[in-house]
Assembly symmetry: C4
Homo-oligomer: 239 residues x 4
């Protein structure tokens, strides 16, 4: 199997995984930098992640537009992905979601912080981007390059950024890291809300965040324990 | 397919969707204004939304009564729908539910307000109707035209009204908007409860509520991304 | 179909319903007074409700013992049911569960009270029974007639009693009422916990509790909307 | 069926059960002391519990290493199990998980305590182990014998220990007790969080913890009511 087909297949599986795990619902999307052309990225046309199939995957340019002029309708917020890939050569996969547990952290002053090791990959700092500061009252969607770049600037070198009143973006070095970061950041959020109701919280130390956050599986996706698990749960064991 | 059959089919799918998404359980109902006769509306006979089929859909008049004198038993609270269709010519679809996350907002002084863009469609204000003010101690059900009209008067020009100690009503310009508003109002409620426990909450600004709340999909229901998603989840992909 | 077989069938369905709705897990049980012999009641042998079948249903006497001396092992806590049937001729169905949302109300001073009409059937007052007061330190199980009668005395004329550090008992005039009361009492508990976090709560008024609590479906179980819904969800549509 | 095969089969079922009940996700593991060789224990190779099959079960020594030099990759944290089996001859089954409801208790000063009888098996005291005290900033994983022994020392004679910012370990006298303790400790955690928000909590008394915690089913696993239930839910009814 060549690189491109394998990437497309993995991207379809990743779509199904984030749907199954509650990261996305009818909205939200995940993208993967093209394995051979770093100035392009792969992402579905405008379809809910649970339903994405190989036929839906399109090449997009770093301007956010589909390469094929005859492409079916694409996601309105493709500029989130385009801007992150443009600003961050180290990033190879991006998730945008409205993961519900993260919304409260975007609309209050409480910083989202890792309280257990599996969430260390979200990093020590999770910035919050508020579009209103630069763009005034909008419908909160990121619908052009300027808005995408503003979000990428807030994200800066981090793994996760929250978008006030909207959702979040996850940027990672590969598809597995993006999926895992999206899932465990969300789970951390619920635990953190619960722990904060109980009393003073001991978060991971900076050194623990760095060390546990750097944990990465060796070998191929196909040989990875958590990928095997999540793809099985998503009904893609034999895809 | 003619208008009526297509409307009935869409209404059946909408019933299954709101059941699948936890908006309704054994109780609750959804209705659609008749596509050709604005003084009638379509709604199931007395059956739980998860089980409604084409055979169950009945025409009702704006008096709340089924047009067919030989109709099977109908919902006790059909007067909610009748009164809203009567008072609001702009409304073409109505949901009544006991969505659990909304009950706490109906029995406390806390206003339900949109904290993320997808819930902006609930509008800036969600009034609360308390039957006891006008009708004293009842079983809280809306069982006649007078009670229906009282609820419609509280709803006024809004999209959503809460019913103290009972549930809520959603009124929208079409079936898709009604379903989406019901689902995302409920999800907003849980996020708002969580955010309020954490600290001062930044809600959408009035301008954002207006702009994001006016977002509406173009094209037919069949071509709509979220409708495709929700109907698939509800087991109606091929209905 | 004769009364007894029909009762046994309905009891099996009720077992599956309360398992499906999260009222019970591996523990918990539901019983039905014998349709022809008021001094006997029907209940499964020692099997988890989700797995109960017609073969498992046994006749028990009001002493809590199975009528058939060769019966398979029975529930340790059958004395809960026996004592309630003994003390309350008006009661025809009893549920004992560890429904998780109710546990916090049994171990704090917060009274469980109906905040929405569907839960009015739990009644205005839900007493809490603490075995320790009379029996000292035990394993908290109700394992003899004396303990059963103590619980029945606390329950008195109510529909629901909580058991501190253990669970609850629901007593109703028929199987449908018992199932509905068990389900909606549990759902009320979660809503009440949420509402109490938000501020001052308006509970149903005494008059509303009485009026809404007296709502009862007409006709047979088979013709009942919510029973049709719950049995369908429990996989018993064609049982 | 000989002892070893039966043990392996039960261990596979136990893996599926703890996955189904939300104790573990892609991470986490369960082990069983070898039925014939007390200085060995059985545990899967590095595979998520939901997917473990008979082929995956390996013998491990008390040094944490697989007996077979050609074994497939094993769990990084096998030293948790090895150290507990080494220190506690009374223990025959060990679970390590990141059960989400327990994380908040590991990162705050709130002691986890049984509030209902089914959770009494967790014991009156649940110590918290913080690796940082002895090992400084790590990735929080227990990856050698020294770290395993440190955890076992904190666990001491208890059934459950929490691991700050990581998860927990459950140690029990047999597989059924380990599974039940893992499940009900987690459920207790959620109830306790809820109850603490409501007011002063009455926990089980020391005498109740002792008496209810000592409850143990008689007879074989195959004849056990809760085991039958959980294995059925896990899809292993006929395994």
């Amino acid at each position: 199997m060549n690189n491109l087909i394998e990437s497309m297949r993995d991207l379809v599986i990743a779509n199904r995984i984030i749907a199954r795990e509650g990261v996305v619902d009818g909205y939200g999307h995940i993208s993967l930098r093209h394995p051979d052309k770093p100035d392009r990225f792969l992402m579905s046309c405008s379809r809910s992640p649970e339903l994405v199939s190989l036929d839906d995957v399109l090449e997009h340019g770093l301007d956010g537009e589909p390469v094929d002029a005859d492409a079916p309708p694409v996601y309105l917020e493709r500029f989130i992905h385009a801007a992150v890939f443009e600003a961050r050569p180290d990033v190879h996969a991006v998730v945008h979601s409205h993961a519900p547990e993260l919304i409260p952290f975007g609309v209050t002053d409480v910083p989202l912080r890792p309280i257990f090791h599996t969430a260390a990959r979200m990093g020590a700092e999770v910035p919050v981007c508020d579009m209103r500061e630069k763009f005034g009252d909008t419908n909160l969607l990121v619908v052009n390059r300027e808005q995408g770049r503003d979000l990428a600037a807030t994200l800066a070198g981090n793994r996760v950024a929250l978008m006030r009143g909207h959702g979040n973006v996850v940027a990672a070095e590969n598809l597995h890291a993006a999926v895992m970061t999206a899932i465990y950041t969300q789970r951390n959020a619920l635990m953190q809300m619960q722990a904060m109701q109980m009393g003073e919280v001991t978060y991971l130390s900076p050194g623990e965040v760095e060390t546990a956050g750097a944990l990465a599986p060796k070998g191929t996706l196909g040989a990875n324990r958590t990928w095997e698990y999540f793809r099985h749960r998503a009904g893609c064991a034999n895809f």
